[in-house]
Amino acid sequence: MKTVSMFIPCTVDLFLPDIGEATYQLLKRLGVNPVYHEEQTCCGQPAINAGYIKQAKEVAKHFIEVFGEDGAIVSPSGSCVCTVKFHYPELLCDEPAWLARAEDLAGRTYELSQYIVDVLGVSDLGAFYTGKIAYHESCHILRGLGVSEQPKKLITNVKGADFVAMKFSEICCGFGGEFANNYPDISEAMVKEKCENYIQSGADLLLLCEPGCLLNIGGYLSRNHPDKKVMHLAQFLNDAIPFRGKEN
């Protein structure tokens, strides 16, 4: 059985652990053996984005030590995968031994929907859902990893689901980590428009693959449109696959 190492982002660990659990269940259902290194914490993205690279470097090294030997690392977050794939090699460019390890790791790190569709070759999970679904193209998944078709394939193959187009689905929701807190007026205008476009799409469910966007869009909807739902794709799929027993 193929073993895959789960890289659960800190946002999921602390605020959205259901997504972590759904990731685990999905991978198991796909016939792979998901493992979780308990020594993992955070990938270091907040420090990199704030310019504190000395601190980020140490966190990157910790991450590389924890995940260094794994054949495949899979995460339900595109931006954290981008951190590992693109920022680690930049951070460690002046330490050749670490750089080699970082570059090696970069090639083995995947976003969840990308791993399911591109590596496992599965695009139909046998899921059922009745309703209209829209998809938000998170920045780091779309432009960072070039992943867009993969999650859409998984959604369109859900039986009974009606995949609807959402205006400006590829435009940022206004999260941006520290940005959402430091520039609340601009961030609000952005997330407000995202949610208006979601509502206008006629969908009754918005799916995405990025915990940061989920906190932002979900937080805005919870405050302003509590009847509108937004979910992480992993959790949605896991819920929408009929239970076949024997699952832990």
Binding site: D13, Y36, C172, P184, I186, G219, N248
Partner: protein, 481 residues
Amino acid sequence: MEIRTEQFVEIAKKELKNARNKQFLSVLPLAITISRPRSMQSFPDPEAANEYGRAVRAEAVAGMPELLEEFEKNALANGAKIVWAKTAEEANAFVLNLAKERGIQYVTKGKSMITEEMGLNDVLQESGIEPFESDLGEFIAQQLHKPPFHIVGPALNIPVEEISDLFIAKADMKEPTTDPVKLGYAARLYLRDKFHHLAMGITGVNMAVAETGSIINVENEGNIRMNKSSPKIQVSIMSLEKVVPTMADAMHMIRLLCRNCTGQKLSAYISIDSGPKKSDEVDGPEELYIIILDNGRSEIYQDIQAREALRCIRCGACLAACPVYCKIGGYPYGWAYSGPMGQVLNPLLLGLEKTQDLYHACTLCGACKSICPAGIDHPKMFLYYRVQEANSDKKAAGGFITNKTAKFFDLWRWGTTRAWRWKMAVKTARPFVNRYAKDGTINKTIKPVEGWFRTRNLPAMARKTFHERWAEINKKVTSDQ
């Protein structure tokens, strides 16, 4: 031009409430999602065309010193006069002295970002030489004393009624009108008169071709051509990075510039000057001055990362692509260059201390980078500035940000490099974070992240984190497996 980059937040707040801007800005993303792709499709291979353009810019920037020397040599051979200016003040002083020497009362100008950067209009005006902007949008912005709202359309946001009033007051228009053709005609009549008696025309430069010593201007109104062909003296001002190696390179960059700028395959007017009027020619200026302005760029060039900023060709595509610009418009950026272009350039040209908000007010969404025909990685530039800012934190005396952030990240590093410390920190923080939680949701403001809670809730910190759940999910699975 007044520098207001430090008022970013304040001006942005005001602009967010401007309903007219909102209406205009809400359709701006269509320039990137519809018109730009449509015009790029007219290349046989759009991606190859982009790659070629990026390569031209990379080569031009890398070889800038040698290319500038080659350009100077060939431009001199064409009969142009080359003036090297180290600073904006030097360039302004040259133009002013030349104008005074020749007894010039007024000048006309083609729209140019470099003269905005220099603040040339203010300098001329203070000495009694009236500068008339001849680009319609720039003319309006100038009369209203407003900075450019957008690099290509400086007055795109001004209501037509306001323009009508303005033209009656300042451009000899007789009747109020909202007809754009009539408004254009009024401005044309007014400015045509200035061109008739013109002694000195001032323009920017879109590209300077090293192999031929030619300068190129790209425009849609024909006013730049008037600035170059009407007067006896033409002054064209370029910054160092305008130089490209060959005419073929320039032609390709023009094809990219027009498509990215306005979604056109080619703009209505493109003029190429190789020297002033020759003895056997009937029109053109008798004297052509080309001012090559440094204004900090040779220093930028020394820094291999910062140098990437010099690739910019000022097409403005990044503005329409930017979700932040499309909410706040051009004014909050506080200077000549706005949007991602300004966020990359202004910190280098004005210093990091004055422009903190410019390199922080970004979600790092990468939309600008993904369409930049010059190959600039904007988010990487912002992170680079943030690193320098964080480093300046250490210098207690010279630093310009508080030590609080540094301390936070030191603590965070400590907590993040060992899982037991991470878990301990979680246990300590949870009751504090969740003190207002109700039904799994926090909807009351928690300091110091009040910005988040202004319009958003947050899920309560999980009663059991994934770490804690994992122990239950599968006790047998260990990190050694």
